[in-house]
């Protein structure tokens, strides 16, 4: 079985390649990959949720905008997410719900600060399931 996501080596920053049977699953796994950089997902419990509804010009931009929305949630509310329900997704619109909890320093080890998702090396490939690739500025 393929992994949900893999970490991509980059000299200054870190990327994610995420897989899924469809675009919804690949987007959810990319978001999981993002939070795996920030903390140990095993230590996160699902105690709250947040919704996101976004539009963009294409699937690639939509992925970047969504991940940036999650980085914003983490940076302003201190929420770490571990699971995502993609409720609706096409090439220009996304509606999703993320489950997780607020960072608790005694419980969550914070690893890497992520500044933003970038458009460099960005890919959404819908052949043979779905595979997405995104590079974060660390």
């Amino acid at each position: 079985m393929k992994k949900d996501f893999e970490i991509l080596d980059h000299t200054a920053d870190v990327g994610i390649i995420a897989y899924g049977a469809d675009m919804k699953q690949a987007f959810a796994n990319a978001a999981k990959g993002l939070f795996s950089l920030i903390t140990e997902l095993d230590d996160v419990e699902e105690v709250l949720h947040r919704d996101a509804e976004l539009t963009a010009t294409d699937a690639e931009s939509l992925l970047v905008e969504w991940l940036n929305e999650l980085i914003y949630q983490f940076d302003t509310e201190g929420i770490v997410f571990k699971r995502f329900d993609i409720i609706r997704l096409d090439n220009t619109r996304l509606k999703a719900r993320g489950y997780g909890e607020k960072v608790n320093r005694s419980k969550h080890k914070l690893k890497t600060g992520v500044k933003a998702a970038t458009y460099h090396m960005l890919k959404v490939d819908k052949n043979d399931g779905c595979q997405v690739q995104v590079l974060f500025d660390i």
């Binding site: 000299t11 200054a12 690639e60 940076d75 302003t76 890497t112 970038t118 458009y119 960005l122």
Partner: protein, 486 residues
């Protein structure tokens, strides 16, 4: 020596290598890489090389897409890249500045000597760690209202000084006097403000740090003296941070916005992260107004931190800041876009100079540098990794002619974070440094491996290239004694 670039690069001299426009269809100007032959063979990555060529596509770019010797693979622009575009018909690219807008370095001199500080270095590092909020998710000791944040965006360093953090002398020896003109808080999103408010007055994480250093070599005694660096064994303190989540969000917002403008203005780019708009367009002007807000936020941030560094030293050494001669030498930004005037083909031209991991390096006599440095040139601060050296240099006329008044900004990464972590453990890195007399305190010990010397190029080799190429001139060298990492 054979390099992977032979057949592509045209050697100009021992420190200059050109990527001709024939390399990639669409390059408007050639690339110019500053590097030694051995650096080309060992440290220049193919991806970084491609990025130099990609930046050459930007409409209105003049002379060269430049790469400093600390160049490495970034996103869109390479880190260590410099690109100047014509204001009248060229573009501005938020990716050419980066997410950490006005990430920069501030250097402080002291009268303290190594022999006075060494016995208390652990105490000093601990005190700095306590007094300067750092690490992922940390919040500042300062709470500003949205109205006050707007004032920070417009006034920069001066706002912090007016609130009692440091003094007017610090502002004078800060690039742009710590306040970039043209800042307009109306061009900054509510999201950026929300991210910015709690993070003001924090060091952050990643490669940001505070470092206690000891002067160990002089190259230009006279210039060093003008900066207050007089003796071997003298202690300096360096601050490296930027505009935190505030700047990251402004860049995020404008990469998205300008990504849409690319179609509107019919611009064709090889990488979406190079998203840009004409400098003179509403989108371009809005970005520059928001970017200036982040630049000013970063200068205020370093001003707060400078004050807390002074407080920590007062506590540890029981002397006043004046008695310890804790004067700021200079503050430079190394992620910024600025409108500057240069002579191109004999006529004066206003250019938008993008410095992405590059330092301004103006020569002696330039009107934009403080009076006290008018005779020696603008101080250039080049931190290395935490195990090797940092350099102080000055700007030169050659930089004005060749690199739009720019030089390198640091060592430049060599190994990815993951590769560094695979081969090193944070705890071992700390122990090895301690054995060499370098005390490190970090929010995350594991992340120390990512910042180990082995992950970076040798800063001495980088500085040697900029010195020999003439785009900045070495003044003094310092080695680390204590480091605080986020």
């Amino acid at each position: 020596m054979a390099t992977p670039w032979q057949g592509i690069l045209r050697k100009i001299d021992d420190y200059r290598w050109e990527i001709p426009t024939s390399y990639k269809q669409g390059m408007a100007v050639p690339g110019l890489i500053f590097a030694s032959e051995s650096m080309l063979a060992h440290t220049l990555e193919e991806n970084a090389f491609q990025q130099v060529a990609n930046v050459a596509f930007l409409p209105g770019i003049v002379k060269h897409s430049l790469a400093m010797p600390d160049i490495h693979w970034g996103y869109g622009f390479p880190i260590g890249g410099v690109a100047a575009t014509r204001v009248k018909d060229g573009v501005v690219s938020p990716g050419g500045v980066g997410f950490d807008i006005n990430c920069g370095v501030r250097l402080l001199r002291t009268n303290l000597t190594e022999s006075e500080v060494r016995p208390r270095i652990e105490q000093l590092v601990n005190e700095l760690f306590i007094n300067v909020p750092s690490g992922l998710g940390s919040e500042g000791k300062i709470r500003v209202s949205e109205k006050e944040l707007n004032e920070v965006m417009v006034n920069g360093s001066r706002w912090a000084v007016e609130k009692g953090y440091g003094d007017g002398e610090d502002v004078i020896v800060t690039e742009e006097s710590g306040c970039m003109k043209g800042a307009n808080p109306d061009k900054v999103s509510a999201k950026a403000k929300k991210r910015g408010i709690p993070q003001l007055g924090t060091l952050g994480s990643g490669n940001h740090f505070l470092e206690v250093q000891v002067v160990d070599e002089f190259y230009d005694r006279e210039a060093a003296k003008a900066m207050g660096i007089e003796d071997l064994g003298q202690v300096l303190i360096l601050i490296h941070t930027g505009s935190r989540g505030f700047g990251h969000q402004i860049c995020t917002d404008y990469v998205e916005l300008l990504g849409r403008a690319v179609q509107k203005y019919n611009i064709s780019l090889p990488d979406r992260q190079l998203a840009c708009a004409p400098v003179s367009s509403p989108e371009g002007q809005d970005y520059l107004a928001a970017m200036a807000c982040a630049a000013n936020y970063a200068w205020a941030n370093r001003q707060f931190i400078l004050h807390w560094v002074r407080e920590a030293c007062i506590k540890v050494f029981g002397k006043s800041a004046q008695e310890m001669g804790m004067r700021q030498i200079y503050d430079v930004c190394h992620n910024i876009a600025k409108i500057e005037e240069y002579t191109i083909n004999g006529s004066k031209e206003r250019l938008c100079v993008h410095r992405k991991g590059a330092t301004r390096a103006f020569p002696a006599g330039h009107p934009d540098i403080p009076d006290i440095y008018r005779d020696i040139g603008q101080p250039v601060l080049i931190p290395g990794d935490m195990g090797r050296f940092s350099y102080v240099a000055v700007g030169t006329e050659a930089a004005m002619k060749e690199t739009f008044g720019s030089t390198c900004h640091g060592a430049g990464r060599l190994k990815s974070r993951a590769a560094a972590k695979r081969s090193l453990r944070g705890a071992d890195v700390a122990r090895a440094l301690a054995e060499r007399g370098i005390i490190v305190k970090a929010g995350s010990i594991a992340s120390l491996a990512e910042e180990a010397s082995e992950a970076y190029k040798d800063v001495s080799e980088v500085v040697e290239v900029t010195h020999n190429a003439g785009i900045s001139r070495k003044v003094a060298r310092a080695k680390p004694m204590g480091v605080v990492k986020g």
